[in-house]
């Protein structure tokens, strides 16, 4: 609710404001939705001036429609597909992580989600030479494991450079996460290139760790903050052409029901792609456990495809 004040737009003077307030018009919405002829008569203001102010306010506060053809052109040049570091996972995701979308990895504790995230960070930093922002809310990020992965793929100097391109921020509650994202947004909008080069991906491990404490109980504030986080992630992905990867826990309704993502119905609408990561005991060889990823939701592929993950 934006309150009208002098100088909000040219033509909105203090005297005009006084007259408008006297007839009960206080916010932008009040102004735009009132009948201007009526207001002109009641407040003895010029109809033309009011129409001009209305036009400027609408231009300032409403969203602009964009033509489909123009949007397609823009997307063709800005969308990129990022490799995840695991060729089988890439195949599952129809060649990789698409920018402009939120992808969710769900799985039980210990199923390998953090490993997949580290693999993604390493792969994007090394092969694409792009910067990575890793928000760690579980304390599961270990630089040594990341080093191990990089060392398996390349030699020393490149490994150092790759490590430098990965920025890790430790956040332990939702407010820290929101402020880290806000900081990212500020940096991207000012295009400050000094410490952060071209950023293409944000990995958040995990989102359920910061959101679960908010849910439950009868208050809806928790859900509102969760939806605000969701909105922030989607806006970042779309407006700055980033790929956003989040990890989530799983729950099930009863012991025989299929696994579903945690955080409830409202969150389930947020990611456009969802992958279930499980770790299964190979029956013929008890020593190894294999990791299996299955596609639970995708805008491009039929669901249900399963692949074996090869995480080094």
């Amino acid at each position: 609710m934006v309150v009208l004040r002098a100088g909000l737009c040219p033509g909105l003077t203090e005297e005009m404001l006084q007259l408008l307030r006297a007839s009960g018009i206080r916010t932008v919405v009040d102004f735009v939705s009132s009948d201007l002829e009526d207001v002109a008569q009641k407040c003895s203001l010029s109809y033309k001036a009011l129409v001009a102010v209305r036009r400027v306010l609408l231009a300032q506060f409403s969203a602009f429609p964009i033509n489909g053809a123009d949007l397609y052109e823009e997307l063709k040049s800005s969308t990129a597909i990022l490799p995840t570091g695991s060729s089988s996972l890439d195949k599952l995701l129809d060649s990789g992580l698409y920018t402009g979308e939120v992808t969710e990895l769900m799985g039980a504790p210990g199923s390998g989600k953090t490993q997949v995230c580290l693999g993604i960070a390493a792969s994007v930093s090394l092969s694409l030479k792009q910067h990575v922002l890793f928000l760690d809310s579980t304390g599961g990020f270990t630089a040594s494991r990341l080093c191990q992965m990089l060392r398996a793929w390349t030699e020393d100097e490149e490994e150092q450079a790759a490590l430098q391109r990965i920025q890790v921020v430790r956040v332990f509650d939702i407010y820290e996460m929101l402020s880290a994202l806000q900081e990212l947004r500020d940096r991207l909008s000012q295009q400050v290139m000094c410490s952060m080069g071209p950023l293409k991906i944000v990995v958040i491990d995990s989102v359920s760790a910061v959101v679960s404490p908010l849910l439950g109980g009868k208050q809806s504030e928790g859900l509102a903050i969760m939806m605000q986080l969701a909105r922030e992630l989607k806006t970042l992905a779309r407006e700055y052409s980033l790929a956003v990867v989040v990890t989530n826990q799983v729950t099930r309704d009863s012991s025989t029901a299929p696994l579903r993502p945690a955080l409830g119905r409202s969150w389930s609408f947020v990611p456009s792609t969802r992958v279930l990561v499980e770790s299964k005991e190979a029956t013929w060889d008890k020593a190894t456990t294999k990791r299996v990823a299955s596609l639970a939701k995708s805008p491009r592929q039929p669901t249900g495809i399963q692949v074996e993950l090869d995480i080094g």
Partner: protein, 266 residues
């Protein structure tokens, strides 16, 4: 302005005969709500309808314009282009661009911005007589944020949405539009039947997981409500079901569809 209205809008008849329980739907002035949990094909169905509208007559379309309001950054342009390419005989860039030129997209960040955007779009409807389909995906995305901002008063919580619904009704009526809006199943159906103000009991009631939670002004303006659900088969394909209800006349139709590379198939 007046002339544009008198000239009449292009007709949306036969837009998708499978979806509607009666002949000749949708007509202008209809408000159709798509309701269902996530992953049940609502957005796919919208792409199907958009494709039907923007494709040229030679490609099996209606050659009309569409205004798509996206409130949660859900719209996937690449997917729409894949669907268009699979339906066009000549898949040239020119043809795709021509089709896409008939589509207008807006992104809204809050219910206040949605309301203000609707006001500023009014002008577009006057200047584009072939713009007769308005899609809103989805009208329920601000539900929790509005509820939290409104504090204790239900009135304040619902106020923005109520104003949007009222203004949408005015737009639909004055400019002879058809409105499709999606709502998400955010809550479980209440087991207390007294609380459920559903006016009629369709035979498939046990399949429908519907609990109305949006404001009364919206619920009263909806003329058709279509419920989406999904059954997971043990095989590879997932079947989606649609139950289409015409609210005033108690007509119910149940159909299944599947989603392929080229879009929705009945």
């Amino acid at each position: 302005k007046l002339l544009a209205r008198l000239e009449g809008r292009s007709s949306l008849k036969d837009l998708e005969p499978y979806l509607f329980a009666e002949e000749g739907s949708p007509v202008h002035g209809h408000v159709i709500e798509f309701h269902g949990p996530e992953g049940t094909g609502k957005t796919e169905m919208l792409y199907h309808l958009v494709a039907r509208c923007i494709l040229p007559k030679s490609g099996g379309g209606l050659e009309t314009e569409v205004m798509f309001i996206d409130t949660d950054y859900h719209f996937d342009m690449l997917r729409l282009v894949t669907i268009l390419e699979s339906r066009l005989v000549q898949r040239t860039e020119e043809m795709i661009k021509q089709c896409l030129g008939r589509l207008f997209l807006v992104n809204c960040n809050s219910s206040t911005q949605l309301l203000l955007t609707l006001y500023s779009l009014e002008n577009m409807f006057c200047t584009h007589p072939s713009l007769c389909l308005l899609i809103l995906d989805s009208i329920s995305s601000f539900y929790w944020i509005d509820r939290s901002n409104g504090g204790e008063s239900l009135n304040l919580q619902e106020m923005n949405l109520k104003k949007c619904a009222n203004f949408l009704e005015k737009l639909v009526r004055e400019h002879h539009l058809t409105l499709f809006a999606t709502t998400q199943t955010l809550m479980q159906r209440s087991t207390n039947s007294a609380e459920n103000p559903f006016p009629f009991k369709p035979q498939h009631e046990t399949d429908i997981d519907y609990r109305p939670y949006l404001c009364k002004s919206w619920q009263q303006m909806v003329t058709h409500r279509i419920f989406f659900s999904k059954q997971c088969n043990s095989g590879s394909s997932t079947a989606f079901t649609v139950v289409s209800c015409h609210l005033k006349r108690n007509h119910v139709v149940k159909l299944s569809f599947s989603v392929a590379e080229c879009g929705v198939q009945f």
